[in-house]
């Protein structure tokens, strides 16, 4: 058993490296900010006139479409960040630098958890930068909501990061990553409550509605939506936490040299 200080130092080190890398990649930060802003300023503005959002919890009154899509866009930032971290892990594995992390004298699950935590902190910074700009532009959220959403952001960021980590353990080559965009990011985002309320989905197609309620991303969006209005969504939080456990457990399995996919493919 190693002293707790070693574990803490390691996690701080991984977090510090992730922050340095993030600061060095200004384009990544700008892209993370611009992507949801385009959705907010262009897509949502266009849809405002044709899409009405009825009064539904947690909203106490009618809300603009921009206000409705905010939680979905926040979750989108975290989803893209999770996938970007996944891409970085595949790259690190191909380039060899992942080996430095995996040969540190600490349990592999802990090393992966450190990596996951670091990626989540970066995603939370991106979200707050977006919230500041969105507040300046047009969206009005309860002031305390910015604080109340923080623990939920950490949970949803961990869940989406764990999904990215799981995917990184299954992707053999960097070139295959493009498939992730088509088969993971877009379906997860569009088949959720991010852009439309679930009742609208049900009205148009029962099958799509069922896919939406099976999608963990929906529950991440709803957790954030309620937290922004100082309310808890226990079922959504439970699904997000459960998904986090499943995704992270499978990712640890994927990176286990005895059992995982990385081993079977003869890579470090």
């Amino acid at each position: 058993m190693r002293p707790a200080g070693i574990y803490l130092t390691c996690m701080i080190g991984v977090l510090w490296r992730e922050m340095l890398r993030f600061l060095h990649q200004r384009e990544r930060f700008i892209a993370a900010l611009v992507r949801p802003l385009i959705w907010l300023l262009i897509f949502a503005a266009g849809f405002r006139s044709i899409l009405g959002v009825s009064i539904q919890p947690p909203y106490a009154t009618y809300v603009t479409y921009e206000t409705y899509v905010m939680p979905g866009l926040i979750a989108m930032i975290q989803l893209f960040n999770g996938m970007q971290s996944s891409l970085a892990m595949v790259y690190d594995r191909e380039m060899g630098s992942m080996r430095i992390l995996l040969t540190a004298p600490l349990p592999r699950w802990y090393l992966l958890a450190s990596k996951l935590t670091a990626g989540t902190v970066v995603s939370v910074i991106q979200v707050y930068a977006f919230l500041i700009v969105a507040e300046l532009v047009l969206v009005d959220l309860p002031p305390l909501g910015y604080l109340a959403v923080l623990p939920v952001l950490l949970l949803t960021g961990l869940m989406l990061g764990a999904l990215g980590m799981l995917l990184s353990s299954t992707i053999r080559q960097l070139e295959n990553f493009a498939g992730i965009m088509n088969f993971v990011i877009f379906p997860m985002f569009f088949l959720s409550s991010a852009l439309y309320p679930l009742w609208r989905m049900q009205e148009s197609s029962d099958l799509i509605y069922r896919i939406c309620i099976a999608n963990p991303f929906t529950y991440a969006v709803e957790s954030l939506r309620f937290a922004l209005y100082l309310e808890a969504a226990p079922v959504s939080l439970g699904v997000v936490a459960g998904s986090l456990i499943v995704f992270f457990g499978m990712a640890v399995w994927g990176y286990d040299p005895r059992k995982g996919l990385v081993h079977r493919r003869g890579q470090g």
Partner: protein, 250 residues
């Protein structure tokens, strides 16, 4: 952990699917000695390094590092190992010092202790003046030096290097080989140096010749030369890795 027990690899097997990479490999490394693991490309050197660094798990046999069973207690074994992989593993966008600090944190070193060790290791490898430079700006030789400095940061007792001179020019290669020999001599480090280049083997080294996943010879260089009737390491290497007659025809 008992350093006097050295490194023992006993009957280790590993295969990628149906293709065997290592077949009942048994190797003993003497504590405080420089051992060259010599073999042509595809001999299984990198697989053996991956097994020693716990990135892979043997499918048969066992490995012990200074008396510690690698399968049972990989963390204790890894804590005394410094590893330089064949592929470069530096973060190009971070500075020399930042790369060192990240590695220090992975080994639980922080604050003044980490700072002092980073200073000492960079000075030893002649990189102190470059510590603020981004790794991207360093040449191949300096990057390799940095990887060795990093591998020494946690004061390991076993240094494992997988073809560390790949891509270096002749002077940089000679310099690196001499430097690691000096580390072994001065600090009593146990070194395993995997290579396919016979001129990296010194007369006083131990030698393991690996070919097609099997150990063809091992021992002190003089003993290996005597056993296979060769005049030099190149001759021994050619004798031990020559294709069988049927293989040569095909």
């Amino acid at each position: 952990m008992d350093e006097a027990q050295g490194i023992k690899i006993v009957d280790v097997r590993y295969a990628f699917g149906p293709k065997p990479a290592l077949v009942d490999v048994t190797v003993a490394l003497r504590t405080g000695h420089f051992t060259a693991l010599l073999g042509p490309n595809g001999a299984g050197k990198t697989t053996l390094v991956s097994l020693l660094s716990a990135l892979f798990v043997p499918q048969g046999g066992r490995i012990s590092i200074f008396g510690v069973d690698l399968a049972r207690d990989p963390l204790s074994a890894l804590s005394v190992m410094g590893i330089v992989f064949q592929q470069q593993t530096l973060d190009l966008d971070l500075s020399v010092r930042q790369n060192m600090a990240y590695f220090a944190a992975l080994h639980g070193l922080a604050g003044r202790q980490a700072g002092q060790r980073i200073d000492a290791c960079l000075a030893r490898l002649g990189l102190a003046a470059r510590q603020a430079e981004k790794v991207r700006t360093l040449n191949g030789g300096h990057r390799r030096r940095l990887e060795i400095a990093r591998a020494l940061l946690h004061e390991p007792r076993f240094l494992l290097l997988d073809e560390p001179t790949v891509g270096l020019d002749i002077p940089a290669r000679a310099d690196l080989v001499a430097h690691v020999h000096a580390l072994c001599r001065d600090d009593g480090l146990t070194v395993l140096w995997a290579t396919h280049l016979v001129d990296e083997v010194a007369p006083e080294d131990d030698l393991v010749v690996l070919h097609q996943g099997a150990v063809r010879a091992q021992g002190a260089v003089a003993d290996v030369l005597a056993a296979c009737g060769a005049r030099d390491v190149l001759g021994a290497f050619q004798n031990l890795t020559a294709p069988a007659p049927a293989e040569a025809v095909s």
